[in-house]
Structures are given as structure tokens and as C-alpha cells.
């Protein structure tokens, strides 16, 4: 393997005299300096040729432009920054081994492989969101937490009461998570809902160009169940997946900074 090259797309070793990466098909002969730019829209085949009923992941590159796509022809397909077949080596928000796309009974599932930043899926209907659940709206990573029950003043072990700011009851709060993990702002709901958008809502992100005027709404029911609803936004509302989740044709999934569309023939 003297003089072997490294494929810029998937990281595989490519023999020196090969013009294309045998694994992912990227041109590696050096004549195309486009290897660093976004590959043109094309379909990569893993294993065998496209099989009917099998899925394809299409990388969305902004403004609806489709980028690279990955044919999911095996049984399991690891995606990550440095492991697996679907590699995004330049995405710092991608864990080395991030997600796994799995077939079970001819159905496609996605599973978080213990990634730091998780997998987010665009919601199509009002969706239940758990306590501490994270969701993505435009550039905003937000977290919702129900307020803990008010137990009233509780003295400590020495029978001393804790002094706190006056109580202003709120059923849930919305936490903005900044890149790096810090909390930005925390907004406490005034009623049973929080509307989020660019203007005219309870919480407005004026300068986030990816957020629609009225984008999404959180609601909490009397029994504390919280629901996230997209209000017909352009770019969608994405909820972080907990368990292994089935994917359907047309689903959108965020891994790291990569937005992927699922196509099932």
C-alpha cells in the first residue's frame, strides 16, 4: 500500500493507482480539486446496487439543494465523524460513532449510538416531549422542563428556611442551550403554552433567519404532559430522539450539523 491515499470523503485507504475510492466512489486522482467542496448530487451505493424497498439518505445542503446521498443497502449503517460508512469527518458536532441506521423486518430504524448531541427528527404531528426534552428550531437548541411541584417552604436540617425570590408560579420553562452546553436564557411560561417564533410570540428569536414568524408551540396539560407542535414553519421543528425510532419516507433527521432526508423507494 505504498503511496496509498486517504479518501477525503470516507477516510478509507485508496491504493495509489486508483482514481476512485473503492468504498465510497469519491474521485481521488487529484485531477479534480473539488474533493474538498461539496460533492455534487449523486447517489453512493453500498454493497449491492439499489434494492427496492431499501432506503436512501440524502444530505440536504441548504436552500433545498441536495448533496451526497447514501444508499442503505446493508443491515446496519453506522454514521459518525470517524467510524462507520457514513462519515462526516469535518463535523465537530458529530460523535466519532454517532448513529446507526438499521433494518428490521424491512423497516428502517435509527438508533443513537451514545452520541453527545443526539439525533433529531422533524415532527409532522403534535408530538409528546418528555421532561428535559430537547428540540431544534432554526439555530436554536431549546429544552423544556416542567416546573417541579411547589412543596412550599422547606426548612433545612437546622430548621432554617431558604430565602428565595417571590414565587411566581409557572408550569414549565424553556431553556436555551448554547453551543458548548451553557444555558443562555430561561423563559417561564405564563400559562399553559409557550409560542416560539421570530416575532409576536411568547419567545422571539428576532435574528434567527431559519425561524418562521410563528414557528412552534409547547403546551402542557393539566396532568403535566407536554406536547410540541410545529405551526407550519418553513424549516421545521426537530425533536431529539430517545429510543430507537422508525423512519418513514420523507422524514428529516439531524445528525450533528447534517440534515438528512430519508427516501424509501
Amino acid at each position: 500500500m505504498n503511496g496509498a491515499k486517504t479518501c477525503p470523503t470516507c477516510g478509507s485507504e485508496v491504493p495509489a493507482d486508483f482514481k476512485f475510492c473503492g468504498k465510497c466512489g469519491t474521485r481521488v486522482d487529484g485531477t479534480t480539486s473539488s474533493s474538498s467542496s461539496v460533492p455534487a448530487a449523486k447517489t453512493m451505493y453500498f454493497g449491492t446496487n439499489q434494492v427496492p424497498g431499501r432506503a436512501k439518505l440524502i444530505v440536504i445542503k441548504g436552500e433545498g439543494m441536495d448533496g451526497l446521498s447514501y444508499q442503505l443497502a446493508g443491515n446496519e449503517h453506522i454514521a459518525g465523524r470517524s467510524e462507520g460508512a457514513i462519515l462526516f469527518p469535518d463535523d465537530p458536532l458529530m460523535s466519532p460513532r454517532h448513529a446507526n441506521f438499521i433494518y428490521r423486518d424491512n423497516k428502517l430504524f435509527v438508533r443513537d449510538e451514545g452520541s453527545v448531541n443526539g439525533i433529531f427528527m422533524r415532527i409532522k404531528v403534535p408530538t409528546s416531549i418528555p421532561s428535559g426534552g430537547l428540540f431544534l428550531i432554526g439555530e436554536q437548541l431549546l429544552q423544556v422542563e416542567p416546573s417541579p411541584p411547589d412543596l412550599g417552604p422547606q426548612p433545612d436540617a437546622e430548621s432554617t428556611y431558604f430565602y428565595a425570590s417571590p414565587k411566581r408560579p409557572s408550569k414549565m420553562k424553556l431553556v436555551q442551550r448554547l453551543r458548548g452546553g451553557e444555558v443562555g436564557m430561561i423563559y417561564r411560561a405564563r400559562g399553559d403554552t409557550i409560542t416560539i417564533g421570530r416575532e409576536g410570540n411568547d419567545v422571539n428569536f428576532l435574528d434567527d433567519p431559519f425561524i418562521s414568524g410563528r414557528h412552534a408551540q409547547l403546551a402542557i396539560s393539566t396532568d403535566g404532559q407536554m406536547t410540541l407542535t410545529d405551526l407550519g414553519s418553513k424549516n421545521g421543528t426537530f425533536i431529539r430522539l430517545g429510543d430507537e425510532t422508525q423512519l418513514a419516507h420523507g422524514d428529516y433527521v439531524f445528525l450533528g450539523q447534517q440534515l438528512l432526508r430519508v427516501e424509501i423507494a
Binding site: R81, P92, L93, M94, S95, P96, S115, V116, N117, E139, Q140, L141, P148, D150, G152, P153, Q154, P155, D156, E158, S159, T160, Y161, F162, Y163, A164, S165, P166, K167, R168, P169, S170, K173, V175, Q176, R177, L178, R179, G180, G181, E182, V183, G184, M185, I186, Y187, R188, R190, V203, N204, F205, L206, D207, D208, G256
Partner: protein, 417 residues
Amino acid sequence: MLPTLKGDPVITCSRCGKENQDHYKFCLGCGNEIKPAPKPATREPAPLETARTILPPEAKPVSGSLGNEPTPLPTLSPPAAGKAKGGIPWNDSPKMPITPSNGGGVASGMLGAVTPPPLTPGSTDPGNWAAPRPMPTTPQAQPASAPTPSPAVVASAPAAVEGTVCPNCGRMVSPGFAFCGACGTRMNVAAAAPSPRTMYMSGPTATPVPRGRIVLIRPDGSEGGAHPLHDGENLVGRSQGSLFEGDLYLSPRHAEFQLGPQGLVVKDLRSLNGVFAKISGEEPLESGDVIRIGQELLRFEIIAPPTALEDGTEVAGTPNPGFWGRLSVVVGRDVDGSAFPLFGDAIVMGRERGDILFPEDGYVSGTHARISLRDGRVYLADVGSSNGTFLRVRGERTLPSGSFILMGQQLFRAEYK
């Protein structure tokens, strides 16, 4: 803090209820002569810890001696939420019309926040100071119509009745009383019946005149009782000194005041609620510092720039639009309410004007305080508020004479020569 050793028979004072050892001739609580009680077994069998919480302050003022109304006594029942808040119209209106924004949206967002309707007249900027908390009191103890919350403490009412000032603690003692009801100091050596047994109490001649004192400042600005400050260490807490006894927001051992040649240094003894000093001028802030303005308890934290994890992954999130700090409203022990990002050169807090608004807090001035960033350091300053801006003492702090301090639910002024 047990009044008696275990197993010792006790005599409960018929006047003030304090338990005294059976060889005492005079009640340690009120100075009343103790008649040998035939039934010392009437003592409540309740567990002591519980009893301590339920019981009124041991140095319950003798009727009339302090010119005091029967004080609302702390009970185990939790403070009635919403009660005894004085004239502050708490409601569920928005705490702050927050419009968080990204980057340059600062101006149109938080700075442009709309101020909710004004508070009812009379509820704003009351007097000198006012932020006593509703104590865990019985609801009827404090009339809801009171214009300002009255601190439910022992020494708060004016000493309207004639009497003598205790040389030790400064409290008023009724004429004819041989002992100070608050601290037990003998008031008049000649008048006190000599006891056949030795009483280990310091008389006025044995007590050096205290060089300083901690004066209670009532909500209306007048002075309440005082706690003496002697040279050396002076311990203050719920179980240290009658001025503090009724305040369940004080730890039993709350703070230590060290009076030395260099002045007065207060040291927080890891109390639950801390000691807050009123600031003058600009005060450097550190991440984790806790601030009091009006009734708001706020925690300042620095927002650190993101760093990658060990495996090179960065934690995803909203791109930071320039937030360098965060101010969180503390609504309970380890519970935060709203949090406001800090950005730009300075952020102003106030009830009506500024970037962070507390429209419901009548003790916050229209514009109250400012947090600014300069040369990589963060500073807190009061901007002419009525009630002042207070910073929780980290470890210890030197207090010039005349300093205002918040401990528990009361405001004090420390004075010394």
C-alpha cells in the same frame, strides 16, 4: 442549645414559659422569680428539634416591657404563600416580556421590552427598606392590608413603654424587672435579691461597654433593637442573640462579626441564606455571586466559551450571539426561575426601565442596578435605587461603620467607634 441537661428537672417560668433549672431563683428568660414548681413533669414530650421550631422565641418579650404587640410566632406550618406580602400586587403577569434575540437583536429584543402596567400607588419604593419575607406565620398574624410587611420578629415594635435600657443588649426592660428579658443581664444590682447561690451572670460592672452594635432597621426606616458588638468575635445567628431569635431565615450560627483595630469584618459561617452587604460604588462580580435587589434573589454566572470534549466533539447548541454572562432568578433552593443573558457593555435592571425588568417587585426601583463588562471584568453598581443593591458576602468582608447588611429577613446597620 438545650436549656437543661438531660434528666435535670426543669421549672417552666409561669410568666414567659422558659425552662429553667430547678435551682434557679429567677427566670433566665424574664427575670421573674421562680417558685418551685410542683409539677415539672408538665414538660412537653415533643422531640426537641421539632419543639424548637414550633416554640416561640425563648426570650419572648414580657407583655408590655418592649411595647410590643403579641408577635406573630413562627409555626411549623409553611409560610402562607401570597400572604403578608404587603401592598405588592403579585400576580401571574409576565415577569418580563422577554424577547431573546440573536446577536444584534439586543436592541430590538430585550431593550425594547414592553413594561407591564404600573403597580398600584403606594406600593412602589416604600420607605427606606422593605423586603422582609413572609415568615412562616399563621395567616391571621399579619393583616393582609398592611401597607408594608411587618417583620415578624421580636424586637421590631417601638419601645413605647417606659423602662430601662439593658446595658448589655440595648433592649428596653420594664421598670421593676431585675433582669433583662432578652439577655438575662441583671438590671440593678441593688434591687436584685441576692441569691444564696452563685449566679453566673455578668452584671453591668463586669461587662465592658460594647464598642459597636448591630441595629435593626425597620421597614419604615426607624431603628429597632440592637445587638452589641464587643471587641473580638461576635457570633450572630438564630440561636445567638435575641435580636435574631425569631427569624427562621437565619441559621442558628449564621455569621461572625469580628471587631478589631482595623474595623469590623463579617464572616459568613456557611449559613443557608448568607449575609448581604449593601454596595456603594462599583463592585467586582465573580461567577456564582448572589445579588439581592428588592425581593429578588439573583445569581450571576459567567458564560464560558465552548470547548470541545475529549473525543473532539463539541456540544451542540444555539450559536452564542455574544452572551458573556447570565443572571438567574433564584426561586428556591437549587431551583432557578427565569434566566437573563448578559451581553453588550452593560445591562440595567429595574422595575420599569432597563434590560431586565422586575415589574412585580415594588421594592425594586424604576432603574435599580447595573452589571457591566469592562476590560474583561464584570462589575455591579447601584444606579440610585431607593433600597440599595446587596451582594452576598463571599467568605468575609470588611464593613465600614454605617454599613447596611441583610441577614435573614431583616436589614441591619453595623456601627462601631
